[in-house]
Amino acid sequence: MITSIRQGATLERSQVEAQRQSRLLVLALGLLSILGIGLAGYMSYTDLLGSVPVCGGVGDCETVHTSAYAYLATVPVAVFGLLSYMGITALALVRWRAKGTLGYLASLGILVLASSGTLFSAYLTYVEFFVIDAVCPWCVASAVTITVSLALAATDVAAQTRRG
């Protein structure tokens, strides 16, 4: 009887700990996505106005943001980044508030956006370094942000998948 109670208490403690870690992870994801909105939002704003982000002497923003690779079907790629980060923020909010299947599906949504974003960012970073030979620090910062977001999203989904 006593053993059973102890086991129950231990299980409850581990669940509380897992829940705490999960919330920290989602909080970090939300904060990262807000950072991403700032980065991609600034680049989208300048691209849509027909100017270029200020590099402050670091890198070559003009070459990067006016190259043909800066667009996807005439829309600046930064706009797609902005939309992705906004989607991640919204889904992180859902994940924060909802438990169970809804929370899990929100995590999957974040995983989809973060993995496609990371893949595309990796490609764009390759293009910067090896094709157009110019680097935009804002783009690199965004690439790092989305990659870390993917790592967090994968951890979150893995934990929920294991729990079943």
């Binding site: 027909g50 043909a68 809804l102 989809v112 993995s115 496609s116 595309f120 157009i132 030979d133 079943g164």
Partner: protein, 227 residues
């Protein structure tokens, strides 16, 4: 609220795998679309026929008695000059210069650095051999970065060779700098006219800054033609 046990572990595993695959698929589609757009969007390689049938006198394209005069100040290292060249300028040539309604003159405002000046001199050296416009196309197509050695004398001479120009005469012109005074003169003239950035376009004296959409230039040209 939905309970935690709605989905089994294996169902979640399959959904997770599906999400990963969907993410990868979306990423690959975006990469393919971007790579295709970047490649297809590049200006066509000069084939020597772009200006066929249009009278050209060095850096002036079109009939001398055309009603409207258009002057473009550019720098071959300027990205927006390349954008203007590839987009609105091409339409201006097709719709107004080719039919004899306007003539287009290119002047240099090489403020991006030494390679801009060398490229401007090289364009004039190409004009000496009757290929100013084709050479200018090549310069914009080969623009990469600013003062990174792309417009080296070696490259400038090589591109002249690709157009069938006499490379010895061309290289000699660059080496002696016999067009430097002309380029510097255009720079001073631009400053006198109030040019402070490139590209700057003058349509019968009306100044338009930046690489604007064709419609902006079209409206002014039409107004000038209607006078």
């Amino acid at each position: 609220m939905t309970s935690e046990t709605d989905l089994t572990r294996s169902q979640r595993g399959r959904l997770t795998l599906g999400a990963v695959l969907l993410g990868i698929l979306l990423g690959v589609v975006m990469i393919a679309a971007n790579a295709y757009g970047a490649t297809a969007g590049r200006p066509p390689v000069v084939d020597g026929t772009s200006y066929a049938g249009i009278p050209a006198q060095r850096n002036v394209l079109g009939t001398p008695d055309a009603k409207v005069e258009i002057v473009i100040y550019n720098d071959f290292q300027c990205v927006y000059c390349g954008k203007l060249h590839a987009e609105a300028e091409a339409q201006i040539i097709d719709q107004y210069v080719r039919p004899g309604k306007a003539r287009l003159e290119i002047r240099q405002y090489p403020t991006y650095g030494e390679e801009s000046v060398r490229a401007a001199e090289a364009a004039q050296a190409a004009a000496d051999q009757g290929k100013y416009w084709e050479y200018r196309d090549l310069l914009f197509q080969n623009r990469q970065g600013v003062n990174k050695g792309n417009f080296s004398d070696e490259n400038l001479v090589r591109w002249a060779g690709e157009l069938g120009l006499d490379q010895v005469i061309f290289a000699n012109s660059l080496a002696t700098g016999n067009h430097r005074a002309e380029v510097e003169g255009e720079l001073q003239e631009a400053e006198r006219l109030g040019v402070s950035s490139v590209p700057t376009v003058f349509i019968d004296g009306q100044k338009v800054e930046g690489a604007q959409p064709f419609a902006v230039y079209q409206q002014i040209i039409e107004e000038e033609l209607a006078k």
